[in-house]
Symmetry: C2
Subunit: 552 residues, 2 copies
Amino acid sequence: MPPSDISSASAISPLPAPWQDLFARLNHVAACYDAKVLLRDTLALLCELCGAEYGAMYEYRPEVQEVVCRIRHGTWCDDTKVCFPVERSLLAEQATSPQIRFFPNVRAEPGWKYTPDSDLHREAKSLLVVPFTRNGKLVAVGEIFDPQEIPLEQIAFASARLSTEIHKALLALQSQRDNARLQALVAIIGELNSTLDRDRLLRLLINYAAELLDAEASSLFLIDEKTGELVLHLASNWQEVPVEKIRVPPGKGIIGEAVSKEEPILVPQADTDRRHYPKVDLKSGFVTRSVLAVPLRSQMLTLGQNMGQYKARVIGGLEALNKRHGNFTQQDARMAILLAGQAATILSVIDLYADANELFLDAIQALVASIDAKDPYTEGHSRRVSEFSVAIAEELGLPPATIRQVRVGSLLHDVGKIGIPDNILKKPGRLTKEEFARMKEHPAIGGAIMRQVRLLEHTVPAIEEHHERLDGKGYPRGLIGEQISLLGRIVAVADVFDALTSDRPYRKGWRAEEALAYLNEHAGTQFSARCVRALTRAYATEKIRIQKERDA
Amino acid sequence: MPPSDISSASAISPLPAPWQDLFARLNHVAACYDAKVLLRDTLALLCELCGAEYGAMYEYRPEVQEVVCRIRHGTWCDDTKVCFPVERSLLAEQATSPQIRFFPNVRAEPGWKYTPDSDLHREAKSLLVVPFTRNGKLVAVGEIFDPQEIPLEQIAFASARLSTEIHKALLALQSQRDNARLQALVAIIGELNSTLDRDRLLRLLINYAAELLDAEASSLFLIDEKTGELVLHLASNWQEVPVEKIRVPPGKGIIGEAVSKEEPILVPQADTDRRHYPKVDLKSGFVTRSVLAVPLRSQMLTLGQNMGQYKARVIGGLEALNKRHGNFTQQDARMAILLAGQAATILSVIDLYADANELFLDAIQALVASIDAKDPYTEGHSRRVSEFSVAIAEELGLPPATIRQVRVGSLLHDVGKIGIPDNILKKPGRLTKEEFARMKEHPAIGGAIMRQVRLLEHTVPAIEEHHERLDGKGYPRGLIGEQISLLGRIVAVADVFDALTSDRPYRKGWRAEEALAYLNEHAGTQFSARCVRALTRAYATEKIRIQKERDA
């Protein structure tokens, strides 16, 4: 259906050709979605219309009453903040009364010295100021220096055509930034979520907080539960100074108020704020200009496994210091609250996980210590064997998961003694052949007890094989060489080292050197040579101490 | 500086008044940032210019080559999808050749029946189609029905003035939606993060996945580690059908491919996709149209406490089914991947936490069982006392954290027997006075062992006070009434109930009714009456069984 079929009924005369041309050019400029290019092209068009060589474009931000220079020397300026005294600057008056204005002798104007470009354009004689408005309100301002002509109607036409485009493009830019920041937040939360290491989480938190909030530095305070004070725990700007000495009394300072009121606090000028607690600055040497402080408040956790809930709580506060560009905004505060809240919740999870692990280790340690204590001569034995075993494992460079198995398995190695009668276990003299045969059952008994625990499966060899010998002369199974698990070989060495260096009813404990000499002598036949060397190194480098050295 | 100072040098004649009026009206329409209002006002202006009564506005989405009706009957339509065959519809041709077109007898047009409004506007005689373009490419289309006049130049002017505004406003709308969705994602992750309950996490995940991705339903598959099959674990659309029967062989189906390739898969039409695994639909009765499938892949976790790392792994897959409006997009896929990844990581943390708790409980259970086993007559005693104690605590309606203390404390109540010599513990006959005095030390010994464990502090009263009596005649401290902790009172009742109902060397175990009668008889003097009533209820409602009932 060709357009010629349309019965045109236009009641008005055609648009004059020069206006058609200008309109087409403006439409072309307007077609750009990118605020940076749109402002640049708008300025270029204005300069062309006026026969001018240079100018600048400013964004007006009504929420903070700031003009921000966006195009200077033809290129985009990212967040160059230019504040102005609203009453006096030549740009500022546009905010209250937007109107195209021409200053033929601009340097004589009293407001010139407050104009952002007065330094840059010292040579300028005249200035044309072109406001861009939407519904009568300022959106942006153009400065044209030394215009050769001023086609007022065309300039007004261009401004009217492009103002709403500029407004939309600037809002889109903000929206894109918010979007990018939310994406960054999701990525950050993902990384925080992937650690169960408390210190690592806190370090990640302060670094990401400064990055996300475009701040020069950030600080993390944790509540000291005894005193209620806020203790500076980490600060992104301090590499050298020990931070833990800096304490803020409850409710004091900007951070104290944010924590006690459980709400974000924005302070554009810290030095004049009555809440600012300058002791932190004095101690650190850092000069705080602007502050955004938020509480670290965890959510309530549902624990599962019929364990109920873990209550929501405020554990401290997070500060972002010195916004790099402009001031901290309400949007910054919202982002900070989201980040701090998630971090605090993850921290609760980390603490619960650490508690569950501590509970397990401490409980079995207490129980095996009570088994050791049945015989006063073996008091503390299991704990020491565990320390020696871990030291050997570390010297061997084993991975953390294996070291964990060594730690638990060695702690439990003698747990089978629970099944050995007291009269054998506590007998002061030498055991009879029958008694010794009974005694030799303890690795198997211990294995049988701990084998019931699904998650301890990997540690059972430490219990069952700690009396095996490389040459097959050990018990209970007489395993040979590599048939003995690494855990069994490690614990065997640690066990004998502690037995030899501890006092017994029938002899004094040996010196460590003597015991190591004995172990080295039997390395390769009775003991794993690698494990004996590892123990020898650990002792030489003072990573372990024998019983007598502890008691001394 | 009044504008009269400006030396106007306009080289062209002033813009004619009718054009000035139209330009002002267009600028007014353009001042709107909201795409919904902007499209509505644009359509109203077009209708006015043409003396028409009704029309519609369409958004063109080039990435999917769809026109989407946005304004109909003067109001905004949210995501009404209208697909069209590009070759034939009267709107569709605008996509390839945007041009104002007039169809004086529209119902005679072959493309009319493919035009979205052919149903709505059956009475329409003529149709004016007005494209809105940016750099020659279609952005939106206006339909004007039965125009009385067609002021072509003004319509073209309006279209040129508003096209770029509409383009920016539509992009902004998309950006706002992306933004809202990211905010929703952050909130969802926050809620996922606040649970350590596996089932709750999975339920939250499928519900939020459907919501976030605007899908009719979603399904969660978990890998069966033995067979490698994907087992349907939860489906948001199934309330009745048991889902665990539905299994997908490794790599099969859309979900299988997403999981095995570890990448998102978008399927606009499932029934024609060769990968679609129809057995799931057949079993469930749900008809799958479109699918977005993503793997559930956790990140590597840093465990802290020198425990190394927990490896990244794929544990299953997540499907969103039947996008409500339009098709699943790449943006949907990105959101789904973010959500699934975070959920999988949180799931790893939940599993680790559950393991740590299981490890603790199982380990102490194994250890106390081995203490019980020293005397064959007390085998299984601690475990039964723990079950009875928990049943009492539950009947009393105690909070989960207290029930947990009861569970652990009662399990450990006899741990002090580790310090009692075998000859007393295992003596077949009655104990002498001296032996009994020694035996009475076990609560204090147990308390001393477990008091070393910081996190078991709250459970120690269960150990120390389970032989106290309300009338003060108990041991070791002779506490009276409320001086005895609730834990102590609970475990005392559970302990005696198990002792009475178990066989002893000197007597057969009582029947449960006899034991309960004894407890009730001594309620208020020896035992807490509340606890005895609670135990009686628990037994009556078959929540617990005595030793003989188990063995039977």
